[in-house]
């Protein structure tokens, strides 16, 4: 199960009242700042600033790697996963180095032959332009697909709680690169992005707390209804 897809998941207990932590510095402990910088630089230098690949790495962590050491712990683990995916580090290299640093007598794995993805973004950031008009406009009734619409590996970048649900488009946003393909270095395939409003009863059933939930969804993940 994707540990990162948390919307609506039960059993996570009470939220953290901000008054207990604010004002809060960006990094609670020094290692968090180092992990932040290492991850951002790893993405920039090694994966061509592919933020979708980083988010996909986060979603592929196991439960412990995702949750146990908090936000920057999961960043660290996802950075390591990206580095082993592209053979810049051998599996187990970080573990072995950490053990040696604390005095254990372990052998480090040999440095592998790098296999970086052949990738260069077509522009900075995630926003792109498209010649074709958006398929939907404000007021259009839509439904979210339940399955990934394109072939190949890669994520289906739709929060689980929205899959199959009916909503209404409220805004059209600038086109973005499509995470489903971009995350696995299989092309940017820019998509129009639509902000869609969902009634809480549609998402959670008739007893739900009254509210409207909005999400930004890629055109390819929506169908008319």
């Amino acid at each position: 199960m994707d540990p990162s897809d948390l919307g609506g998941r039960p059993g996570l207990g009470p939220v953290l009242p901000p008054s207990r932590v604010e004002p809060e510095p960006p990094f609670g402990r020094p290692w968090e700042g180092r992990a932040f910088a290492l991850t951002v630089l790893t993405m920039g230098r090694i994966s061509g600033r592919n933020l979708d690949a980083f988010r996909y790495a986060l979603s592929r962590l196991d439960r412990a790697a995702y949750f146990d050491d908090g936000y920057y712990g999961r960043w660290l683990n996802a950075a390591e996963l990206m580095l082993t995916d592209s053979a810049l580090l051998a599996p187990g290299a970080v573990d072995a180095r950490a053990r040696r640093r604390r005095g254990e007598d372990v052998t480090e794995p040999p440095v592998p032959e790098p296999a970086r993805p052949d990738y260069a973004p077509t522009g900075p950031g995630s926003l792109r332009t498209l010649d074709r008009p958006p398929r939907f406009g404000p007021g259009d009734p839509v439904r979210v697909l339940t399955r990934r619409p394109c072939a190949g590996t890669g994520p289906f970048k739709v929060p689980g709680y929205l899959r199959g649900r009916a909503g209404t488009v409220v805004a059209v946003r600038p086109p973005h690169v499509l995470p489903d393909t971009h995350a696995v270095f299989a092309g940017e395939h820019p998509q129009h992005v639509h902000t869609v409003a969902f009634g809480s009863a549609e998402l959670w059933g008739p007893g739900a707390e009254e509210a409207t939930v909005h999400a930004d969804l890629f055109e390819i993940h929506l169908e008319p209804r």
Binding site: L16, Y72, L83, V94, R102, E210, A211, T212, A215
Partner: protein
């Protein structure tokens, strides 16, 4: 086994050492990066945006129409702020922002996210029971006020424009900016009347 687990601080040191050895990161660049996010980027930027909107109706209109351009005019641009949308709190509607899939957050105006925003419980629950969650966080939204939740599921980043508190009519933009809190710009708090804030 728990006693065999490598703590994250040690893992970080090990990873940094390996990447430095391979020439893939430069510790000095890392230092600069950490310092920037500790010192130069933070909710103070967003507070300046809010204070300007409270004092300049033309800016406020621009901000609500084209958040990206209006915010950029104050010098706040960069990663995680490519396309900004500003949501105005009113007596009829209360907006609250979340990212259920990661912890996406508008870095140029608010800095890096605080722990409550990254907390799995917040990410899971605020889309399902926002009124209850806000109450647990210390904000009671009046029964007649509609709640709108915004899940940052693509690259759009949201900032909420809090209501200007009572008792601030004569204040300068700088004084107003000092009243604006990070939590109010995400929608989990309001800004109390001037004078009540310091306590």
């Amino acid at each position: 086994m728990t006693d065999d687990r490598i703590p994250p601080a040690l893992r970080t040191e090990a990873l940094e050492e390996l990447l430095v050895e391979r020439g893939l990161v430069d510790p000095a660049v890392m230092d600069g990066f950490v310092r920037t996010y500790e010192n130069d980027v933070g909710p103070l930027n967003g507070a300046r945006v809010v204070a300007r909107a409270w004092t300049d109706p033309e800016f406020r209109g621009w901000l609500l129409r084209d958040g990206t351009a209006a915010i950029a005019s104050l010098g706040f641009t960069g990663p995680q702020g490519e396309h900004m949308v500003v949501l105005e709190q009113t007596g009829q509607v209360h907006h609250v922002v979340v990212c259920t899939l990661c912890s996406c957050y508008p870095w140029p105006v608010l800095g890096l996210p605080p722990s409550w925003y990254k907390d799995p419980a917040y990410r899971a629950r605020v889309v399902r029971e926002p009124r209850t969650v806000l109450a647990e966080m210390g904000l009671d939204v009046p029964a007649g006020r509609r709640i709108e939740v915004w899940d940052s599921s693509a690259e759009v980043r949201y900032l909420t424009l809090p209501r200007r508190p009572a008792g601030t009519a004569g204040m300068t933009e700088d004084e107003l900016a000092a009243l604006v809190t990070r939590d109010a710009m995400v929608g989990v708090a309001e800004i109390g009347p001037a004078g009540a804030v310091a306590s």
